[in-house]
């Protein structure tokens, strides 16, 4: 397959297709993933090509989807379950936290749970309630789960393949506001490690660490700052559990300042964990406290207010200015 420019959502479709092609144990399951191709069309055409036995429309019951995915994994399958929207994962939260995350450890390593849970997450598309949330911290707090989130089409393709090949349960968060962003995907390439962060823009004065939908925001912020003569480095964390602290440390030892950006609420968010760890690791390198930009401690607001809530360009640059002022 030659390199091709495609939207992030289509890169996911292509990734699922190659996974279904290469391993007969891979299954795709979820609500409306069959004929409809999913509400975001990520599974478009898969049922037609791989049949109802492998691309399974499920009853409308999220706990049932994850609970049966666990059973299928115990039988030797590699289910890729789709939760339709971030806010709908909570009926399955019990199965994810009390069962899926712990079963490998409870079995003393004798059973493996290669289950991928795909969840479109994040805001910015003008959606109704429960369709714009960022629940990554609620999963990151649970040992036994891995959490990754791509920010561009190439990562979408490769990270989903790697998540499916992983023998651990993976929460695969898809930045729904970026589904239509196009990027080059080279299926003949060789991907880097699934949980490694990546410098997407080099800079000297401050590091912006972000993931998923916020990476694009940070790149825009870095471009704007450059016009003011400020050089920002942008680090795409890519993985929320584990977090590649070594990569953040390497960057911060050079730039000496760090701002973490995510859409999830700042309070108890992944930015807090990054701030604490980087403060420990880089205490003598830091010229300023690690700052965080993200959602507020309020329910995700109605769509007309979401631009206020989301960490946009101006709020990111405001934090950059504050960090540089130390």
């Amino acid at each position: 397959m030659a390199a091709e420019k495609m939207a992030l959502a289509k890169a996911l479709t292509s990734s699922l297709r190659t996974a279904l092609d290469s391993d007969p144990k891979v299954l795709v399951m979820g609500e409306d993933v069959g004929k409809l191709g999913g509400v975001f069309r990520v599974t478009d055409g898969l049922q037609k090509d791989f049949g109802e036995e492998r691309v399974i429309d499920t009853p409308l019951a999220e706990s049932g989807i994850i609970g049966t995915a666990i059973g299928l994994a115990l039988r030797g399958y590699r289910p890729v379950a789709e939760i339709q929207f971030d806010g709908f994962v909570f009926p399955a939260y019990d199965q994810i936290v009390t069962q899926l995350a712990k079963m490998h450890a409870r079995s003393l390593g004798t059973v493996k749970l290669p289950v991928v849970i795909r969840i479109p997450y994040g805001g910015g598309i003008g959606a109704v309630e429960h369709h714009s949330e960022s629940p990554e911290s609620l999963f990151a707090h649970v040992a036994g789960l891995k959490i990754v989130t791509p920010s561009d089409a190439s990562d979408a393709f490769w990270m989903l393949r790697q998540a499916i090949e992983c023998d651990d349960p993976v929460i695969f968060l898809e930045p729904k506001a970026r589904y239509w962003e196009k990027g080059e995907v080279d299926p003949s390439g060789i991907p880097g490690p699934l949980h490694a962060a990546r410098v997407v823009r080099e800079g000297r004065d401050l590091t912006l660490a972000a993931y998923g939908p916020s990476v694009k925001t940070c790149l825009a912020a870095a471009a704007a700052a450059e016009e003011d003569g400020t050089s920002l480095e942008v680090l795409d964390l890519r993985s929320v559990s584990p977090i590649d602290f070594d990569a953040i440390q390497r960057s911060v030892e050079r730039t000496r300042r760090l701002v973490v950006v995510h859409e999830a609420p700042v309070f108890f968010g992944s930015g807090a964990e990054v701030a604490a760890r980087i403060t420990e690791r880089c205490f003598y390198h830091l010229e300023a406290p690690v700052l965080r930009v993200g959602g507020f401690h309020a329910p995700y607001p109605p769509a007309r207010l979401e631009e206020e809530y989301l960490p946009g360009l101006d709020r990111v640059l405001d934090s950059v200015d504050r960090a540089l002022a130390y």
Binding site: L72, P91, A105, G109, L113, D168, P242
Partner: protein
Amino acid sequence: MTVESTAARGKPRRAAAQRTAAKKTGTKQAAKTAAAPGTAQAGQSAQAPEMVQLLTPEGERVEHPDYAVETTPGQLRDLYRDMVLTRRFDAEATALQRQGELGLWPSLLGQEAAQIGSGRALRDSDYVFPTYREHGVAWCRGVDPTLLLGMFRGVNHGGWDPNSNNFHLYTIVIGAQTLHATGYAMGVAKDGADTAVVAYFGDGASSQGDVAEAFTFAAVYNAPVVFFCQNNQWAISEPIERQTRVPLYQRAAGYGFPGIRVDGNDVLAVLAVTRAAAEHARTGQGPTLVEAFTYRMGAHTTSDDPTRYRDKEELAAWEGKDPILRLRRLLERESAADEAFFADLDAESDALAKRVRESIRTMPDPDGMAMFEHTYADGHTLVDEERAQYATYLASFADHEGN
């Protein structure tokens, strides 16, 4: 052609499968399973509870129009032995909790027939998803009883390989395992395997959403799963009336698969009904709900005090229906066991109890670093980092001791 796609089209393969089942097993009960009159079928309105019974509390065999079980004296003795040894193991575990060797023990006292009858109905290739009280089923599956004690002593969260005996780990979150069983059964159907999957749960679990979702998924995909509900009348302190307004087995009708109530203290009836339900599953006819009507003679767990919420009279009434006593009466009535058998069994029980005591008292605590093991199959840098930090911390004491 798969089971699921057949079910979706509603082709009459059910009848063919039924004939196959009858031919393969040659038994009366298998042939009659699919539409046995004693079962609640889809669309049927709630009716007065009926219960399959083949052995009365007085130890008399009775006929049932749809279920029968042929037994040799040796088989009857084997079932009796299973129940006696299971009860003895359970009593020993309760005693070990009282002595401080276990943190907790959920007794199966009174439910021996439900567990041994259903456990002995299965083949090695079938797969069981238990709650945390299926000590008798574990016995039938060949899981060493001492392995069940680890999690209650606090040395692990489940100390056996589920695939060694096709007996999954105990599940403490009520009803969660019914979905795992259903998913596993969906996989069995995809594989075209000749395997029944059994999901154990209780009357309290019947209120859980996961159980309702498991019924839905199993019905929609025609999964080869037997939902085996031990209705022991009590969910800790809450009576069955707090869980349901209809007999539990009748709920199956609303999902579109058969449900049947069996005398859960009658090992022969449980054996016959579970055999039929498992064969129903193996032959592509989909799920069955079996409600084993029984009674929790003891406390919910060793932390419970049932005297606060139930009458002595109720307990006494159920003591009269004791599952072991009634089989003993049958053995005596049919002269199927002599005094030497009972004496040998007493000695075997004592030996088992001794082995259980010794194994628990010599069970080592896990190594302090064990908690980091198996958190992930493919590793995780945070776990590696914390493990190393904790090892360094522990080593710092060794340094001091060295000084």
